[in-house]
């Protein structure tokens, strides 16, 4: 739960979303400004906030909120 909230915060800040935005369904297909630059920012934010170093193999799965949530659970 703690991880989920923290990840929601990351999305709100990175994509500049309203706090009531439904983040759980968010993906690079639905979020317009989710480009390669945002992808880098997301990775930096996740590593920095959770103090983890993500395996580059997992980068490819950084395509949706749900996927990222699952990846974080591994660390």
């Amino acid at each position: 739960m703690k991880n989920l909230n923290a990840l929601e915060n990351i999305f709100i800040e990175i994509f500049d979303l309203e706090s009531n935005h439904d983040i759980s369904k968010l993906s690079n297909a639905t979020q317009k400004n989710w480009d390669s630059m945002m992808q880098v920012n997301l990775i930096v934010a996740v590593e920095s906030e959770f103090n983890i170093s993500i395996d580059p193999d997992d980068y490819e799965q950084f395509t949706s909120f749900e996927n990222i949530h699952q990846i974080i659970k591994k660390y």
Binding site: E13, V40, I43, A45, E47, S48, E49, S53
Partner: protein
């Protein structure tokens, strides 16, 4: 103080950095451009956030396009607010992990030399060399280690700040950003610390005590044989200290002595003992039994150098406290008991005396300031009539038209000079070149006298309407009437009338006096000068100088 300011701030996560930037309500900002071959976007957020936290001002950063470093360097249009980030692959291309592991090009030494020369001839506010790991293309570990050291050494010669930590190849390969995401905050703090933004009090002179500081022992008590600074354990710390002073001197930092000792004894010790720092390396030696605060204040006057530029190092807490109390502008250090403590002083001094590039002027600074001290003594002790004295200096001026090239020093003067600066306006290289391109001109002059070379010491930037936008002169040639001579020369040979924009600043009293002497007032205004106004003064100006244009 600065280190405490930056490093003392709490470590930020990425989101915290974003929030700091978002929540800042401050309109104050500094702008810098960072030139590099990599993606630094994540780092920029941490640089900005730390800048806001430490200086209460935002840092607006622009960068070149990803992967265009070489083109940018060749285009050679840099300014004094530009910062260069260097990585091993910028010096030798086959060291780039992103292009795959290839064998080291046989001509790599040539490539290295060419890239070094290319960077060396340009001026950046600061260069950072990130010592990233080299790819496994070497025959053995020694070869790799050796090239790693060689690259660092060359980077140091360029005046770089070397950063060894916080590199992440994983990130570099995946997104072009070579920094470890978990160390971004620390890296940003390290960069800001080295940049020393808003530091108007760069240290220019180190005043060192002698007994138990510069050397082991007490000269007055132990005699010449009782003092040493060698590699033996008992005096090793003094040997290391002298080595560092010597390096600072080579970078253009002045060295002086302030010691409660007999001057003749001190001079004998410096001339006869095999110290790393020799008698001639010191710009001045103050050895007497006067209070040290008095000796330092006197030296400040003799060198015409503000006390805020002074660093004082002494092993005696009483002396250190005296300076703290009477000369609070001086940065004081208590000489430590061991090498760990000494290293702390070195680390702090590295920031305070930091420079991005060592110019020929820097290397000759001790000699030039020695002449000033000598001149000051002459003025005090022997010469009464200034005109005779100036003539006795046998000054020679060389006027340079810097409108086309070789203008680095002339522009540097515009951007460094505070006292004799007619309006205090800084103009970067780009702006100066733009003014020249639009019909303006940049002139400067070098001065030499019987004591030696002073180098290029005066500079004027004139636009197409014959308005002097900048007119500056180094404080080391004050009271020689050079400014009048220089203007007279321009009025005779370049333009018969010249408008001068004067604006008083907190520190340009000498410029204000100059304006007042010519126009009998020194209000902020545009003044017009011609040969009638800039007449030869009583010193017999025209007799003093010989042109060697």
């Amino acid at each position: 103080m600065l280190k405490k300011l930056i490093m003392g701030n709490k470590s930020l996560t990425y989101l915290q950095a974003l929030k700091v930037i978002k929540n800042t309500a401050n309109d104050k900002s500094e702008s810098r451009s960072i030139t590099c071959s990599v993606n630094i976007d994540p780092l920029i957020h941490f640089l900005r956030a730390n800048m806001i936290q430490s200086y209460d001002a935002d840092l607006l950063i622009s960068t070149n396009e990803f992967g265009t470093l070489k083109q940018h360097l060749i285009s050679n249009t840099h300014n004094d607010r530009e910062i260069l980030f260097l990585f091993p692959w910028d010096l030798i291309e086959s060291l780039n992990w992103r292009t795959g592991i290839t064998s080291l090009d046989a001509e790599y030494q040539n490539e290295l030399n060419q890239n070094f020369q290319l960077i060396d001839k340009q001026s950046f506010q600061e260069i950072f060399y990130f010592s990233a790991p080299l790819p496994p293309i070497f025959l053995n570990a020694n070869e790799r280690e050796s090239l790693t050291s060689e690259l660092k050494m060359l980077a140091s010669k360029l005046g770089s700040t070397i950063i060894d930590n916080g590199i992440c190849l994983k990130n570099f390969i995946s997104n072009g950003c070579p920094f470890d995401n978990l160390c971004l905050d620390e890296t940003a703090k390290e960069i800001l610390l080295a940049l020393n933004i808003s530091n108007n009090e760069a240290k220019k002179i180190i005043i060192t005590d002698l007994d138990e500081t510069f050397w082991k022992g007490v000269l007055g008590e132990d005699g010449l044989d009782g003092i040493s600074a060698e590699t033996d354990p008992s005096s090793h710390i003094h040997f290391v200290y002298q080595g560092y002073l010597k390096i600072l001197k080579e970078r253009g930092i002045l060295l002086a002595i302030c010691s409660k000792n007999d001057l003749d004894l001190v001079e004998e010790a410096l001339r006869t003992k095999p110290f790393l720092v020799k008698h001639e390396d010191f710009v001045a030696i103050k050895a007497s039994y006067e209070r040290k605060s008095i000796m330092i204040r006197e030296l400040s006057k003799e060198l015409n150098l503000g006390l805020e530029h002074f660093v004082f190092i002494d092993d005696n807490p009483v002396e250190v406290n005296e300076i703290l109390e009477y000369l609070p502008e001086v940065n004081t250090f208590l000489f430590p008991k061991d090498l760990n403590g000494l290293n702390k002083i070195f680390t702090e001094l590295e920031v305070k005396v930091a420079t991005s590039k060592i110019t020929a002027e820097d290397k000759n600074r001790t000699k030039m300031y020695k002449n000033i001290v000598q001149t000051s003594h002459d003025l005090k002790n022997e010469i009464i009539d200034l005109s005779d004295y100036l003539q006795s200096l046998k000054m020679q001026v060389t006027i340079h038209d810097r409108s086309k090239d070789d203008n680095q020093r002339a522009i540097q003067l515009i951007n460094k000079t505070n006292q004799f600066n007619l309006n205090g306006i800084r103009r970067d290289e780009k702006e100066v070149l733009e003014i020249i391109k639009n019909g303006g001109n940049l002139y400067s002059a070098s001065l030499s006298d019987k004591n030696g070379e002073h180098g290029e010491v005066i500079s004027i930037l004139i636009d197409s309407t014959n308005t002097a936008l900048s007119f500056v002169m180094s404080c080391r040639v004050f009271q020689r009437d050079l400014e009048y001579y220089f203007l007279r020369y321009l009025l005779k040979n370049v333009t018969p009338k010249l408008k001068i924009i004067f604006k008083s600043t907190e520190r340009n009293k000498p410029a204000s006096m100059f304006i007042n002497k010519i126009f009998n007032n020194s209000n902020d205004d545009v003044y017009e000068v011609d040969l009638v106004k800039i007449k030869p003064w009583d010193s017999g100006l025209n007799k003093i100088f010989i042109d060697t244009i």
